[in-house]
Symmetry: C2
Subunit: 299 residues, 2 copies
């Protein structure tokens, strides 16, 4: 599919793309780019055979690449666009994997004065609490969703090519408007992460924390798993999507205030309605996912 794929930022996501692309024969050569402080990681990636080589010089790394994929934290994307600006080629397809899309598109707009038509904004909904190239795997995107958020000027052929690239790695690709993407992801991913961080931070500051952690069961372990995620990455995502996250935090606080009041007043029917509505809503969510898993297994 590509002669030379250049991956900017070879961490868990970038490394997993390299492994999956190699396994599926999607690129003849895969090179990495990083900053001076990333050299050890890039050397590891090369030693592990994840990438064929790397350069700390962006011009060298992207030279003759027919696809440049930005897999750095969303907070760094604008700086990457600035470095890419003088090197930008109409012959090359550019894409990214940022968890927020409005901020990435805005960064392109700021740097170029417009959103280049050969930049295809994309987001694979996959990840793990672990990070770094050592944690990368070749099936991270198998049966996972990938969302492309084109703007009006985005090249349709480029969208098709990036769609085919991700489908070849096992992803289920959809298109969506960037604002809608950010609203949906704020609800399903960003809010739960902030909630898990807030809860574990609160409990970890309590005097009884030793007993709290000692007597917690499996439910607590699952519920708080995402509080083990990388703080730097989540700081980045939270700031990049704060417009969508802040109203949700306010709505959740209002919902918790309601639960607290109903409990204090022992309003059993209203509380039961909330609990059973939630149970039913989660059932719909599971059905939605079972269908997805079934569809995936039929492909």
């Amino acid at each position: 599919m590509f002669n030379k794929l250049c991956i900017i930022g070879v961490g868990l996501i970038g490394g997993s793309i390299a492994k999956a692309a190699r396994q599926q024969g999607l690129a003849k050569t895969i090179v990495g780019f990083g900053r001076a402080q990333d050299e050890e990681n890039l050397r590891t990636a090369q030693q592990l055979g994840v990438i064929d080589g790397y350069s700390l010089d962006l011009a060298t790394a992207v030279a003759q690449a027919d696809c440049v994929l930005i897999a750095t934290p969303v907070g760094s994307v604008q700086a990457i666009f600035k470095q890419l600006h003088p090197l930008w080629s109409a012959e090359t397809l550019y894409t990214d994997v940022g968890s927020t899309k409005v901020s990435v598109i805005a960064a392109a707009q700021t740097v170029f004065g417009y959103v280049p038509s050969n930049f295809i904004p994309a987001h694979p909904i996959a990840g793990a609490e672990r990070s770094g190239v050592e944690a990368s795997v070749d099936d991270l995107f198998m049966d996972k969703r990938l969302i492309i958020t084109p703007v009006a000027d985005t090249d349709a052929q480029g969208v098709l090519k990036i769609t085919a690239f991700w489908q070849a790695m096992g992803a289920i690709v959809s298109e969506m408007e960037a604002h809608h993407h950010d609203t949906v992801l704020a609800a399903t991913s960003h809010l739960p992460h902030l909630l898990a961080f807030a809860l574990v931070d609160l409990l970890g500051r309590k005097d009884e924390q030793v007993d709290i952690f000692k007597y917690a069961a499996g439910g607590f372990k699952d519920f708080t798993r995402i509080a083990s995620s990388d703080p730097t990455m989540w700081l980045d995502i939270s700031l990049a999507n704060k417009q969508a996250i802040i109203p949700l935090l306010a709505q959740l606080r209002a919902e918790l205030e309601k639960v607290e009041r109903l409990l204090a007043e022992e309003q059993t029917e209203a509380l039961f309605a909330i609990f059973s509505h939630a149970k039913k809503a989660r059932q719909r969510f599971l059905e939605c996912h079972n269908t997805l898993a079934e569809k995936a297994s039929l492909l």
Copy 2:
């Protein structure tokens, strides 16, 4: 250990105790008790061989039992004590499995005017989203914690016997003061459940809920698993422990308000401190549990 064990309420927990006790040879005969509307469930339990028999008459069910175990929802315990009162025997050991302990002890105090010394309040920290005797398994308590919350008058020999009973079923038994138990469980179990119910209720009422559920990933599935718990049981537990839960809900709302404000003001250092403190606290929790699992595997 017991000649006749009478289990009041043969659901997931009561049924799993019956299965584990039978497998370990802890009771010669196991009988169930329930209300008229529970008869189909009791008949199923007998057909499955979980219990040897059952009675809808409490006097018949508990006659000659050397252990009576109450495994009904905590909200029903006071009514059970009332029915047991005229049948109470000094020769019998009574115990329960309620998720809240202050309310159970208060129910005994209300019915008897004192807490009978042969009532041993206990709580196995085990469970599942599923319920009913069909979901019961013989290893539900293996390597799980069980907390006994004796009062000043509780018979020490009775505590030893109930300890041995649970240890034989694989549980790791500790003793704790009832108020401390309720404070700790409010933090590790009750608050996370209310939080999961509130979050999924909120998202399930949004216009974008179809997309929210469609594009949610594994983290959301784990985070919301406990929102699939039984609403009736959790209404019961929430009301029984509202004294401990309400202050925690208020503290969590304050913490979320802080996160919201820090995000709005882009106070990156303070946000990073919350996220990384949470990550470290969860690491301590995991280490605590790994040690427990290691200990359990060494036993």
